[in-house]
Structure formats: structure tokens, C-alpha cells
């Protein structure tokens, strides 16, 4: 039930912001500060989510095979690998390090 509540709230919220953006009169969200905050918010959230999902294990911080996988993904990104390959590299390296007992 909890999961369904989260799904319903997320679906409603995410649809609403899309619709509001498309329907809002031009100029409403055009204030420079609002635009800059909107651009910077995903940066902060994505960085935090990356760190949390790489090093977080519940409330603990751990360094395991996943960190190697995400580091490999970062290298792939630096080499301009396409999106799917970046994810594939992260998954493969993580599995490989784990198989080696990392």
C-alpha cells in the first residue's frame, strides 16, 4: 500500500509540473532566479543520489564493488560512450569485481 501511495503521489506530481509548464502563460517562470534554481536543483539531487546509491547501505556508508562500477561508468562517460554502454559498463564491472570477491 505504501508503495502505491508513493507511486500515485509521484505520478500526479510529475504530470502536474509537466502540464503546468506547457500551459503557464509565458513569463511566469521566466524570472532569472527561478530558472537558475530550476537548473541547479537537478544537479544537486543527481549528485546526492549518485553518492547515496553508490556508497549508501541503509544508514551506513560502504565502499564495495558498486563504487568500482560507477567509477568505470564515469570513465566511459569521459570517453563519450553512449548512454546504454555507460550503464552496461557499470553493471559489468560491478559484477566482475563481486565475482572476484570484491
Amino acid at each position: 500500500m505504501t508503495v502505491w501511495i508513493a507511486i500515485a503521489v509521484t505520478a500526479a506530481g510529475c504530470y502536474l509540473v509537466k502540464y503546468l509548464g506547457l500551459s503557464a502563460p509565458a513569463g511566469v517562470l521566466e524570472r532569472p532566479l527561478v530558472k537558475r534554481l530550476a537548473a541547479l536543483l537537478p544537479v544537486a539531487l543527481l549528485a546526492a543520489l549518485t553518492a547515496q546509491q553508490t556508497f549508501g547501505d541503509g544508514p551506513h556508508l560502504v565502499l564495495d564493488a558498486k563504487a568500482a562500477g560507477v567509477a568505470a561508468a564515469a570513465v566511459a562517460l569521459a570517453l563519450r560512450a553512449p548512454f546504454l554502454l555507460v550503464i552496461g559498463v557499470a553493471v559489468a564491472v560491478t559484477a566482475g569485481v563481486r565475482a572476484l570477491g570484491g
Binding site: L22, A44, R80
Partner: protein, 278 residues
């Protein structure tokens, strides 16, 4: 989700050699390229969601109804960690809020009537916006938006289903390294956003905030706390710009700073405060 890819894929479309009349086939090719590549990554979402303990119906409902990848990954990650549903939804919502700004820009470009808008709104994500905004006129923008949206929505949902079904067959998804898919998606989305000092400062500060608060605060809350890095960095940057302007002399700077400061991200922020902290 894969909102990154399109940013990389967009430039070819953004610089059409035939500016006035871009052939439909070229628009469709661009749109299909983005739609197929990103649509296929729904598989990673399906597996991640199933691995996080969500049911098949729940996983598919997310791709059908939320349809904005980063938010979906964030939500299942927060739920898997045992977070409160509202905290989890808040993190996903804040990530999805950027779509409002795409919608705002698209409304002028696409010019859809009020009746079409509720339908078109659902497809407003990074990829469709990138393709549509790269087109030279309204007709090709609509074509690009529709083809990207249709391809991506169809594939994203199909591959979500396949991934969720496949996760069961895989058994322990961690043994396959699939728990690394979500953070890899986030890194891939984040990388092109780290254009200059302000973005890097916000990202660095957010990482510090989440790592410090992770052991202290309830599940899901640390990510929300880390969002404060964005206004914090803007605040510091604004202060620096004002201080710099004051030093340069009141008259000239006062006139210049107000309108130009927000747009000129490279002016003061290069030495932004967060950088040393990060």
C-alpha cells in the same frame, strides 16, 4: 530518464545544414535515434525496480504514469531503502520539476491547442524537449516531438516490462551488478550538467550533505537536505557578485549587475565557494 543522451544526440539535429526546410526524414531519423537508444534503457529500470521489491504492476505503472526516468529511479531507490512514501515521492517530484521549464519553452514552439495539451504534457521529458527544440520550425518541431515521444514511450514501457519479468529469472540481481545501474544512470545524467563552477559547487556540496546526513537522518531525508545545495550556492554566488559589483564602483556596476548577473554564469561563480568545500 536517460535525459542525458538526448543532449548528446541533439547537436546533430541542432545544427541542420538545411536550416529553412529540414526534410521530414532527417527529423524522423534524429527522433528515432534518441527514442530507441533511451527507450531501451527502460530495461535497466525494470530490473532495478523489481530488484527493489516492487511488483510487476507497480513497476509498469511507474513507467506508464510517471514517465520521467530519473524520478522513477529515485523513487524505487528510496522505497527500496525503506523510506517513507511521501519523502520518497518528494525526491522524485523535485527531480521531475525541471520538466515544467521544458514545457514552458515547448508551449511557444509547439503551439498546441488546449485540447491536445493534456496529452502532449505527459511526453515532456529531456529527450523529447531536446529534439523538438532543435528543429527549425513548428511543423518539424511537432514531428520531432511526436516521433520521439511515441518511440520512447512505447519502448520505455515495453523494456520496463521485459526488465521486470527478467529480474525474476536472474535471481539475485546484485550478483549481476544490476544495483550499479541506477547510480550509473544518475552519473550519466549529471555529467553533461557539470558545465562550470556553479554546477560543480552545487554537486560537490550536495554530495557532502548527503554523506554527512545519511547516518543521522531518516531514510530519504538526506537526499532532500542535499537539494539545499542549489539555493545555498546561488546565495553565495549572488553575495559575491554583489560584493564584486560594489567594489567596482556603484554607478556602472549597479546598472550592469542587475540584468546581466543572472545570465552570466561565468562571471563571479568561477571561484564559487563550494568548489573548495567539494
Amino acid at each position: 530518464m536517460a535525459e542525458q543522451t538526448e543532449i548528446r544526440t541533439a547537436p546533430p539535429a541542432a545544427a541542420p545544414p538545411s536550416r529553412p526546410a529540414k526534410p521530414d526524414s532527417a527529423v524522423i531519423r534524429d527522433a528515432l535515434g534518441v527514442g530507441v537508444a533511451v527507450g531501451l534503457s527502460g530495461f535497466a529500470f525494470g530490473v532495478t525496480s523489481a530488484g527493489a521489491g516492487l511488483g510487476l504492476l507497480q513497476t509498469c505503472a511507474l513507467s506508464l504514469l510517471v514517465f520521467t526516468g530519473a524520478s522513477q529511479f529515485a523513487l524505487v531507490g528510496a522505497l527500496a531503502a525503506g523510506g517513507n512514501p511521501f519523502t520518497a515521492a518528494a525526491g522524485a517530484f523535485f527531480l521531475g520539476a525541471r520538466n515544467a521549464f521544458y514545457g514552458l519553452r515547448l508551449s511557444a514552439v509547439l503551439g498546441y491547442r488546449a485540447r491536445i495539451r493534456p496529452l502532449a504534457a505527459h511526453w515532456i521529458i529531456d529527450e523529447t524537449s531536446a529534439v523538438a527544440l532543435a528543429q527549425p520550425d513548428r511543423r518539424t518541431a511537432r514531428l520531432g516531438f511526436t516521433v520521439t515521444g511515441l518511440t520512447l514511450y512505447t519502448l520505455w514501457n515495453l523494456t520496463t516490462l521485459v526488465g521486470a519479468l527478467g529480474a525474476g529469472a536472474l535471481g539475485d540481481t546484485d550478483a549481476w551488478g544490476l544495483d550499479a545501474a541506477a547510480p550509473a544512470v544518475f552519473v550519466a545524467l549529471l555529467a553533461p550538467m557539470l558545465k562550470d563552477g556553479v554546477e560543480r559547487a552545487a554537486a560537490g556540496l550536495a554530495v557532502v550533505l548527503v554523506m554527512v546526513t545519511l547516518p543521522l537522518l531518516p531514510t530519504g531525508v538526506p537526499v532532500l537536505v542535499s537539494a539545499l545545495a542549489a539555493p545555498a550556492v546561488l546565495l553565495v554566488q549572488g553575495r559575491r557578485e554583489r560584493a564584486g559589483a560594489a567594489r567596482r564602483g556603484a554607478g556602472r556596476a549597479a546598472a550592469a549587475a542587475a540584468p546581466s548577473a543572472p545570465r552570466d554564469t561565468t562571471a563571479g561563480p568561477r571561484d564559487a565557494a563550494g568548489e573548495d568545500r567539494a
